[in-house]
Symmetry: C2
Subunit: 369 residues, 2 copies
Amino acid sequence: MPSGPRGGSAIDAAIDERTAVGFVAICRADDPLGRYLTGRDLGVDVVYVRVAGETHLRVPSTVDVPEVPNASVRVDDRPAGQAAAAILADHAPDGTVLAPRTIPHDTALHLESAGYELSSTTAVRDARAIKDTEEIDAIEGVQRAAKRGITAAAVILADAHVEDETLVWGDAPLSTERIRRQVNATLAVEGVDSVGATTVTTGTRGGRDAAVELVPGEPIVVSVSPRGPAGYRGALARTFVVDADGGWERRAHVACDAARDVSLVEANAGADAGFVGSEIRAETAAFGFSMNDEVTRDVGGGIGLAAREAPQLDGDTELVEGNVVRVRAAISHADNGRVELTDVLVVGEDGPRMLGDAPTGLDPSRWSE
Amino acid sequence: MPSGPRGGSAIDAAIDERTAVGFVAICRADDPLGRYLTGRDLGVDVVYVRVAGETHLRVPSTVDVPEVPNASVRVDDRPAGQAAAAILADHAPDGTVLAPRTIPHDTALHLESAGYELSSTTAVRDARAIKDTEEIDAIEGVQRAAKRGITAAAVILADAHVEDETLVWGDAPLSTERIRRQVNATLAVEGVDSVGATTVTTGTRGGRDAAVELVPGEPIVVSVSPRGPAGYRGALARTFVVDADGGWERRAHVACDAARDVSLVEANAGADAGFVGSEIRAETAAFGFSMNDEVTRDVGGGIGLAAREAPQLDGDTELVEGNVVRVRAAISHADNGRVELTDVLVVGEDGPRMLGDAPTGLDPSRWSE
């Protein structure tokens, strides 16, 4: 399991390069930034200050002080910017302080009024985009659990039977919500958290928040993005159809599968990330779907401690070894519904590699564990 | 289920009162702010602008545009502050724009360079602190699911037997991690998400992230804070001991139970929130525990879409009807371990009321559903 703080050396290098005094970030309890920078799930809002090669954390007096190795943790009830300035002042009375450009405005103003000049840095974002072996292993572990979650859905669908044009499982009609709960129970037993990210949607009648009864012939998309014990996210989506009639949904599924294959050809170190995204969309559309109306615009992007992080699959970023990327091919149609395939790949020395080995089949009875 | 946008009228009132042009907030995908302001789980970062009584949302072109009733949703790839300024400019070329004081610094700077003066408002934070009936019902539903999750742990512990001074369940030693997974599976089947907030810790040997084998006589704390289908969080923690010897842990448990009762006496509308927090700590300490070293400093605070939100149980905030508050009594000792009881109560017209009805007993075999 990835442990210990990360990003410190990247921050120190940025401080050196910019002749800055230090670095300040606000880690909110629900933002994985704190986990990345300290190696711990802090569970509370903390002020993070890096100065002279050391990490200082400040928490309010209303929480229990977390134990964080390799960091000085103290209580300070002043506003975050003032608490940070007090630490910086031990080393330099003024100078440039680096911070993410999204640092809260009030924190920035407090630092400025304490005499520091603020300058934005992408050092942490850039460091997070390149995963080490421990991090890749952690994400691969989550992907294996994600596969078992999706497998639970496939087993239920394979086990369901048709009565009066609806799917029945056990003694009751099968709904998206019943499947969602079973998928989440499987994820829990596998030791990963569903974090509200599991969705089961169907055809044109289903929503993210609604329980919809399932019918044969309509595509059912099962999507999970669980968080593993070390905080890293996975992402896996598969589409199933019970009693497919072989029409639109098969063609859409072939297109998504082809787009998935394209990601495994194109996502190489040195490739332009925006080009990879365009290629995924273009391949999906090549099977006769409208690029504007039917093919998803969200073809994925970096994944790690956050479900969405750098690199984005647009713009002119260059993919590098260690990037871990969610790749997503999806097609929606007002009458026929939606088909989606989502996976996670790592940009490796020898090209891209899918993490986990989930099959892609549309028929749940042929899904193999 | 709570649905539809909230906070719009509070924002409009603040805009009127401050003679401002509009209100801007950045809703990140992992922050429940967007869910509150739009009534939807957006799943992506959005720029929220309220102007002339209407809601405008801006998303980047790399995501699928979410459907949000009662809001104009458009794609805009400019930085958030520029996208917001473009909407504001349709109504006023300059003037005061309200924003939460934690708005990202770069967004604030972009708004300022577009000609607007930024002024902070607590309108949304204050509105979120007062829950309506739908919201209270949602939290109560999550608390019922939380109780079933804790019940799963009690059932396992009541079913475990002692072999060679360790607890055994089924064919294998019982660890904190085995219980955690079963608790999370129960939460999943109940339709709520564990969101990484379930912890099972024991004695002096367990950590948040480690699997520790359980032994008789040592207190085991099971803590959950699940998220329900409408996004609202619950919070429930109970302490169990198998084969208690009746010493430290019983005294600590009586103290926590008494402190819990104090919250039900003191958390009335009009009471000082900081005083309620102090009383919880004082009552815990009254059973012979050290206020500085043993009694927790985290005695709770507001809960809703976020696990921690207003009101805090410190400072001189006044509790008002509709506040929903996590109350927590906990005692730690270097040799004896930790005991904790956490619940959620609502400040009602007729005084505080616990949400859910989880018993507090220390003996898992006497835990009643």
